[in-house]
Amino acid sequence: MTALAHRQGLSVTRHLLITPEPIPEAALVQGRRLSRAAGAAVSFVGVVRGTEADQPIQGLAYEAFARMAEHQLHKLCDEVERRWPVESVRLVHRVGLVKAGEVSLWLEVVAPHRGEAFAACQWLIEELKRVVPIWKKPVP
């Protein structure tokens, strides 16, 4: 999808979810839908590390102000769609206790070319960490 096609109103897939359930990564990958213009899918998987400040931890307890988090994520996606000709943005953030080694964030951006897919994916993570009201605390 070109930026022009996008401005012409071709639909952009947007799937945003904040959930206490484990993130079904393989199912999300299999659920990808592509247009004939799609050439690149870049994904980022955030995993809870087993240590925090050099101490072993059981995991991280994530808390969200869910309605605001979803609203802010939609605003970020609006901006992504203005900046880059993406055709799909899918993001799942887990809340509650996420054990060490488990996935806390799954994000995928699909675009015609890899440059814009990487740029949009990285920008979205940076902004998520700046404005989306989600917090975490180590669980020893």
Partner: protein, 81 residues
């Protein structure tokens, strides 16, 4: 006027409170609300970290003028991902 104040994460731990109703003079700002909350919750006054403010689902600056019934949220810097 009255506003609802919600605390999240470490600020909820500090205040020991998830939600409180605050009564303020009409035209009060978020900064003025913060001064009242600091008197009400001593540990909040001692909180050395940054505080973010939202009214409804949007971030607002300290000069934001509150309105009756506003849903105000206070929280520390976000850390998702």
């Amino acid at each position: 006027m009255r506003v609802n104040v919600h605390f999240y994460s470490y600020l909820r731990d500090l205040t020991g409170c998830a939600q409180v109703v605050e009564e303020l003079p009409g035209g009060s700002t978020l900064a003025e609300l913060r001064a009242r909350l600091d008197r009400r919750f001593a540990p909040l006054a001692g909180w050395g970290g940054a505080t973010l403010w939202a009214v409804g689902l949007e971030y607002q600056p300290p000069a934001y003028v509150l309105r009756e019934g506003d849903e105000v949220s206070l929280f520390p810097p976000v850390q998702g991902g």
